[in-house]
């Protein structure tokens, strides 16, 4: 068990060979170049190997360059399982079911927005509930909550939060079929009642950004992006509702793993055979939580547009704040992939990984068919975020997946210690970034140095060909929980 056992496949990939650990059914593959290789945690490598021991895993246990140690499954992990022999595991999705990102374009430029940035950030901070103990503006009746769970973003649009065209620009049209509200615990219902339309805390954020570099002019054009343009990025998930669903089902799955005699290296890998009632129940509940998250990002986006309209006194038409795309990066989905030359359906777990489908994939909305799926990669609050596109190579190598963010380098306490005596908000302001945060330690914990350099992470997926760079976005204003 050491780093020396890893074999370099090529410039961007490392292999964990089958003999690394007893019981591995497939090798592990980590996307990392020689720079990111130095930052690999031994524990996260163990986790990639552990996932490779699970029944029915296809091809390889994969990790993206933003890999870091998670619970059971690594963050930045992708694992696909056969529907007959394979399993489904809540740990392969994570507590924040359908945590994800959406990006809005605009007709405004950095120069137009910058003089009003403090004002805008203040209004957004006031209008979008964020942080510990914050209360949402929406109170869902039991019937409404059930509708959120089955309709997702469509529920939001039907209730006046946004426009019908937003749905087209959302992964899975903001709604997974097969969500079953009857499988949700009363606790999850209670917890989700007042959290619809809230940002949360931790690494979740709402950011006002500008396009500072374009790598692919044609693709940027197709996405409606231009240099110097203002964009808004929203990063959040299914909030307490999804956390409760995960908590509830980890218990179910722990019992199920025993019942079906699945040997586990780690309790957080708890899982059940895909066709078992336990697995199907989890899948239906997870889909409900995923839909809750899509409604959540839709509501927050709607209030964001309103805040811009009111603050800048501009019409929706002159603002032009339409949704470019919305991606999920903590989710399990049944998808068709080619394995050993044949097409077959698999259950693909992405935990801290983004779907990156190629041009002409039937899942893509018409307007992006020719370019491929927009991939949105949020960075830390001080550096940058990226827009990329999905590729055919991602389909071949990673079940149509790529990275999801920067990936942490420091623990929260390390970060707080490092930030001691520093005013992070002022350092940010000196760099031209206005930040508002609810939590006492959030800014220190979330400072740039606590994360891997997003540019290096994105460079690796670009060079590996599992997605291609379109544009870089720089933050101007940040709202954190």
């Amino acid at each position: 068990m050491s780093l020396e056992q890893l074999r370099r496949i090529d410039e961007t990939r490392l292999e964990i060979p089958l003999d690394y650990k007893q019981g591995m059914r497939v090798p592990g593959i980590i996307y990392a170049d020689s720079i990111l290789e130095k930052e690999l945690e031994i524990q996260s490598i163990e986790q990639v190997a552990n996932v490779a021991t699970l029944p029915g895993i296809e091809k390889a246990s994969l990790a993206m360059p933003d890999i870091h140690t998670g619970y059971g499954f690594t963050i930045g992990g992708v694992a696909a399982f056969d529907l007959k022999e394979g399993i489904i595991s809540p740990g392969g999705v994570g507590y924040d079911i359908n945590c994800g990102v959406r990006l809005l374009r605009s007709n405004l430029t950095k120069q137009e927005v910058f003089p009003r940035i403090k004002n805008l950030v203040d209004v957004l901070y006031r209008e979008i509930p964020a942080g510990v103990g914050s209360k949402g503006k929406i109170r869902l009746s039991p019937d409404d909550e059930k509708r959120v769970l089955t309709k997702g973003a469509l529920w939001a649009v039907e209730n006046g939060f946004g426009e019908a065209s937003d749905i087209e620009h959302t992964e899975s049209r903001g709604m997974l079929d097969g969500a079953d509200p009857s499988l949700i615990s009363s606790k999850a219902y209670e917890r989700g009642r007042a959290q619809q339309g809230t940002l949360g805390s931790g690494n979740h954020f709402l950011e006002i950004q500008y396009v500072d570099e374009i790598y692919d002019e044609g693709a940027a054009n197709s996405l409606g992006l231009f240099e110097g343009q203002m964009t808004v990025m929203i990063h959040t998930g299914s909030r307490g509702f999804g956390h409760q669903v995960c908590t509830d089902f980890l218990e179910v799955m722990e019992r199920a793993a025993g019942k079906y005699r699945i040997e586990l290296y780690d309790k957080e890998l708890a899982c059940a055979p895909f066709n078992s009632p336990e697995a199907q129940d989890y899948l239906a509940a997870m889909r409900a939580a995923a839909n809750y998250a899509w409604a959540n990002r839709q509501c927050i986006m709607h209030w964001t547009r309103e805040a811009f309209m009111k603050t800048l006194n501009l019409s929706p038409r002159s603002l032009g704040m339409s949704l470019i795309y919305d991606v999920a990066h903590n989710i399990a989905k049944v998808e068709e992939h080619t394995v050993r030359g044949a097409k077959k359906k698999l259950i693909v777990h992405r935990k801290g990984a983004t779907r990156a489908f190629p041009p002409n994939h039937p899942e893509l909305p018409e307007i992006y068919r020719h370019v491929g799926q927009p991939v949105l990669i949020p960075g830390d609050m001080g550096r940058a975020s990226f827009v990329l596109l999905g590729t055919e190579k991602a389909m071949q190598e990673t079940f149509g997946s790529t990275c999801h963010g920067a990936g942490r380098l420091m623990s929260r306490h390390q970060a707080i210690r490092k930030a001691k005596g520093r005013a992070i908000w002022r350092e940010m302001e000196d760099k031209g970034i206005i930040v508002r945060s609810a939590g006492r330690g959030t800014l220190a914990e979330e400072m740039s140095e606590a994360y891997k350099d997003i540019s290096e992470v994105v460079e690796v997926v670009h060079r590996a060909g599992i997605s291609k760079k379109v544009a870089r976005l720089r933050p101007m204003g940040v709202v954190k929980g």
Binding site: Y71, G131, V132, G133, R193, G202, D266, E268, S411, R412
Partner: protein
């Protein structure tokens, strides 16, 4: 004896709780968790809730107990200050928790905890005390 200390872990937060017996251990684990959420000194005991939770092992029970308290905080904004454990054995805990409704203006805002996890979870009986490690998803 120290009641709890923080565990440093990449991306998340954990606590190591100590206790002279199991009751003490569960109580200190809860206090340790509350200290991550807010400043415990600012909380006053004003109202009580009754908790009854089951788990499929002692470790599982500790996770279930903390998740129950997380549920009450995240759902109703209830933050505990004083805990009385009435019954605690391998798979069941019954307790009264007294505290108040969280007020962002009055109480310090700390971490928003999603869940107590099984990651690196352990409970150990030492010579003269108990110790437990719990990692929280943030």
């Amino acid at each position: 004896m120290k009641r709890f200390e923080l565990i440093d872990i990449s991306g998340d937060a954990g606590i190591r709780a100590f206790g002279k017996d199991l009751d003490d251990l569960f109580l200190n684990a809860a206090d340790g968790m509350y200290s991550l959420i807010t400043d415990p000194g600012s909380v006053t005991p004003q109202k009580s809730i009754e908790i009854k939770t089951e788990g499929n092992s002692l470790e599982g029970l500790l996770v279930a107990w903390l998740n129950e308290l997380i549920f009450h905080f995240d759902t109703y904004g209830f933050i505990g200050k004083e805990i009385h454990i009435h019954e605690l054995h391998d798979t069941l805990i019954r307790a009264t928790v007294t505290g108040e409704d969280f007020d962002p203006e009055k109480h310090g805002k700390g971490l928003l905890i999603k869940a107590a996890t099984y990651h690196k979870l352990k409970i150990e009986r030492k010579e003269d005390h108990w110790e437990a490690d719990v990692i929280f998803d943030i």
